[in-house]
């Protein structure tokens, strides 16, 4: 078996919370050695951010979710001795990632220009909430707040609802992905040019990118903020019947479908009577008729009619139902991680497969500072050799 793509690379993760650490996690799953640099008092704030009262070996389960398979060293970046150690470590690294507020790393002396002088081959990734300038640059770069500011909260839910945020940290994960892409591209370039690079991403840009399809529509027509569908909205810019419907025993999703064909299969000529040209202009009326029909029978009844006919539809599943499906089993997306102390937890694997291989790593997150002596000690040994 060939090596993982990033085997032999060293990544320093100075970041906390989600976006930065999750970018480093992806690099770890792709084969890199990732060393977290944490403050000696408490480390990454995420260690103590306990969600749903769940811990593993003393640290929050969420911390393990984001930091499994990494090493941890502690360093107080305000102490000259520690900073000198960290600089030596940077000289040995291929990538570093941080998410301090704009200006903080420069004051510490670890801004991009200073680091480039130490190690010209280093690829430097910086995550912020809103970029390094502008009126929002000092606002907290937190997922829900960026959703609030970026208009995303007006895409979910129905017309008449207030703003409906996406109920998980979608923008943090998207930002992590952008950072990984930029870092990997700079590593490809380094193979040609020998020099590193600076990659800057921010949650606001990731929010705009996630909506770029719809936002491009908005920028190019004069109708302003798109209006959500009156019921079952799943994308304000999609025509009827796109959306979610209640059935006699649950819910189903219906994607793009020609109205005439839908009318025929549902035995409801009223749907066809609107005419395909009205699928957007009269979408709420059309969806209301479709909803009336679908509510009369259980989900399976409709799927058995629509799926064989090639219409795009699906049952709406919750996690217990989803996790019990053969579709879930076929992807084999779960892995077990184990701490040094022997505690186990289940988490998901990297969503990328390479050469048919699922990227798994059974190691949980490190205890705070677990690798400090080994990592800094090896630098001293290397310097003496």
């Amino acid at each position: 078996m060939t090596d993982l793509p990033l085997s032999g690379l060293r990544v320093l993760d100075f970041a906390q919370f989600l976006a930065g650490p999750v970018a480093a996690l992806r690099l770890a799953d792709l084969g890199a050695e990732v060393i977290k640099i944490e403050r000696p008092q408490g480390g990454d704030l995420c260690r103590s951010m306990v969600v749903n009262d769940q811990r593993l070996d003393g640290d929050s389960l969420v911390f393990h979710t984001f930091n499994r398979g990494k090493k941890s060293v502690t360093a107080d970046l305000k102490r000259p001795e520690d900073l000198a150690d960290v600089r030596r470590l940077i000289e040995t690294a291929d990538v570093m990632i941080h998410n301090f507020r704009p200006g903080v790393m420069e004051r510490i002396g670890l801004g991009y220009d200073a680091v480039k002088a130490l190690n010209p081959r280093l690829v430097y990734g910086a995550v912020s909430g809103y970029g390094a300038e502008g009126p929002w640059k000092d606002k907290p770069g937190q997922d829900l707040l960026v959703q609030a500011l970026s208009g995303i909260a007006w895409l979910n839910g129905n017309d008449g609802d207030g703003p409906v945020p996406t109920g998980f940290a979608m923008l943090d994960v998207a930002t992590a992905g952008q950072l990984v892409q930029g870092i990997l591209a700079c590593l490809v370039r380094r193979g040609v040019s020998g020099r590193g690079g600076l990659v800057e991403v921010d949650l606001m840009s990731a929010a705009i990118d996630m909506t770029f399809e719809q936002f491009t529509c908005f920028l190019n027509d004069d109708s302003g903020q798109p209006r959500r569908h009156a019921q079952g909205n799943a994308n304000p810019y999609q025509p009827a019947p796109y959306g979610v419907y209640r059935t006699a025993d649950g819910h189903m999703a219906l994607a793009m479908a020609p109205l005439a064909r839908l009318a025929e299969l549902l035995a409801c000529p009223e749907i066809a009577a609107f005419g395909q040209a009205q699928a957007f202009a009269r979408l709420n009326e059309i969806k209301s008729v479709v909803a009336g029909v679908l509510a009369t029978q259980p989900t399976k009844h409709w799927l058995d009619i629509l799926e064989p006919a090639g219409l795009w539809c699906a049952p709406v599943l919750d996690w217990p139902a989803f996790a019990a499906t053969p579709g879930f089993a076929a992807l084999d997306p779960v892995q077990v991680i184990r701490t040094e102390g022997g505690a186990d937890a289940k988490t998901t694997r990297c969503p990328i497969r390479i050469d048919g291989r699922m990227l798994r790593n059974p190691v949980a997150a490190p205890a705070l500072g677990a690798d400090t002596d080994a990592v800094f000690g090896s630098l001293v040994a290397a310097a003496r050799a």
């Binding site: 090596d3 793509p5 792709l30 951010m49 969600v51 749903n52 769940q54 593993l56 979710t65 809103y130 300038e133 907290p140 707040l145 609030a148 500011l149 970026s150 895409l155 979910n156 207030g162 703003p163 945020p165 109920g167 998980f168 994960v173 998207a174 992905g177 952008q178 892409q181 930029g182 591209a185 490809v188 370039r189 193979g191 921010d202 606001m204 705009i208 990118d209 719809q214 491009t216 529509c217 190019n220 027509d221 302003g224 799943a234 994308n235 819910h251 994607a255 795009w312 709406v316 919750d318 996690w319 217990p320 499906t325 579709g327 992807l331 988490t347 998901t348 969503p351 497969r353 390479i354």
Partner: protein, 382 residues
């Protein structure tokens, strides 16, 4: 120099997930050649209802395919297959999103492509993986959301399933594919070994929910609970969420209750919330805090609380965001009389890559590519 200068991507995919991955590589410097079917091309050219069209194609097509080259090939014909083979032989990266098995029947599967171009980095996106009962299902965003459990995370408790109102599965899967392709390109440059990178809409959605799913798999499968109102995260304690005010809405992130009540300076509220648990009592806490926020405007609450270090934001529309966001927002926007565009969501060496003005006309580059890659110009059927 952009990082991927000199890298050629041949993209057989359509719709959003695959073309989005190619767009990210393009912004990073790669050349992207889009292979389309002669019968109207990428369905996305015609697919959407948005009133605006640019040179006959949907605005969305241009958003997704700006800066790419277009070539039409009939992949069922011998000529078309030979031309595709020439393209693959000259490519660094190939992307495809046909249903499982189709690309192999066309003679352009991973093994065949690797024989044509040893060391090729090859990316496949599917809806639900390549094996199992769901492998043949249409890989469509809303349907993948419906199957993944994700629709029970947004919205309020009484609302039923609430989809994410943007193509989140497509974009997340495209991003995952781009990451795998880039990692494989890095390895290819070091070792010469090619790779087959695979992901799917469903794997990307599982990854997007990984924080929650990990919690759920470890807590006896207690699902996240949406709030009756203003829900924003099923596992986080009050006051996290969205509040209705006298004018507009206010989003409030993680804030310890004593910090919030101190900042609001209302002794009655402080007394009411005293001793309450942020998670167990979150509905009661929310109701009490909501009553206070209802007495003022969101803009005023934001100004007052942000000055005290509370993590909050008035909920904006797109118009508000553009008016107020400054360079964080406008840096990504390229207004234009012909087509306004959205640029890449990252900066490289301090610069944001400049987006092309539009997507290609169907087969715009067919003749040029036939000459360059040495296949019959007749294969590129315009």
């Amino acid at each position: 120099m952009r990082p991927l200068d000199g890298v050629t991507v041949v993209d057989f995919s359509q719709f959003l997930a695959g073309p989005y991955a190619a767009l990210r590589l393009l912004d990073l410097g790669a050349r992207v050649i889009k292979v389309e079917n002669p019968d109207r091309g990428d369905l996305c050219r015609h697919h959407y209802v948005s009133a605006t069209r640019v040179e006959g194609d949907s605005t969305l097509f241009h958003a997704i395919n700006r800066g790419k080259e277009s070539l039409t090939l009939d992949l069922k014909s011998i000529d078309g297959q030979q031309a595709a083979q020439r393209l693959v032989a000259g490519a660094d990266v190939v992307i495809q999103n046909f249903r499982p098995g189709v690309i192999d029947r066309l003679g352009l599967g991973y093994e065949a492509a690797q024989a044509l171009r040893p060391g090729l980095v090859y990316g496949s996106i599917s809806g639900y993986g390549e094996t199992g009962d769901w492998a043949g299902l249409p890989g469509q965003d809303l349907l993948a959301q419906a199957r993944s459990g994700l629709m029970w995370l947004s919205g309020d408790r009484g609302q039923g399933p609430v989809p994410v109102g943007l193509p989140v599965a497509d974009i997340a899967a495209g991003a995952c594919l781009a990451q795998g392709l880039l990692a494989a390109l890095f390895r290819q440059a070091r070792s010469g070994v090619g790779a087959h990178v695979q992901t799917s809409l469903l794997e990307a959605l599982i990854d997007l929910q990984f924080e929650f799913l990990t919690t759920w798999m470890s807590n006896g499968q207690t699902p996240p609970r949406r709030m009756r109102q203003g829900s924003a995260h099923g596992y986080l304690a009050a006051p996290y969420g969205v509040y209705d005010t006298a004018e507009g809405w206010l989003a409030l992130a993680m804030t310890p209750l004593p910090v919030l009540t101190e900042a609001l300076g209302r002794p009655a509220l402080t007394a009411e919330l005293d001793g309450m648990d942020g998670f167990a009592d979150r509905e009661a806490i929310r109701a009490a805090v909501q009553a206070v926020f209802a007495t003022g405007r969101a803009a005023d609450w934001e100004a007052e609380l942000a000055a005290k270090g509370i993590w909050c934001a008035r909920v904006r529309t797109w118009e508000d965001m553009i008016a107020e966001g400054g360079p964080a927002v406008t840096g990504m926007l390229r207004p234009g009389a012909e087509l306004a565009r959205v640029a890449a969501p990252f900066r490289l060496d301090g610069q944001r890559p400049e987006p092309a003005r539009r997507g290609p006309a169907l087969n715009e580059h067919g003749q040029k590519l036939a000459a360059e890659f040495g296949f019959s110009a007749a294969a590129a059927t315009g």
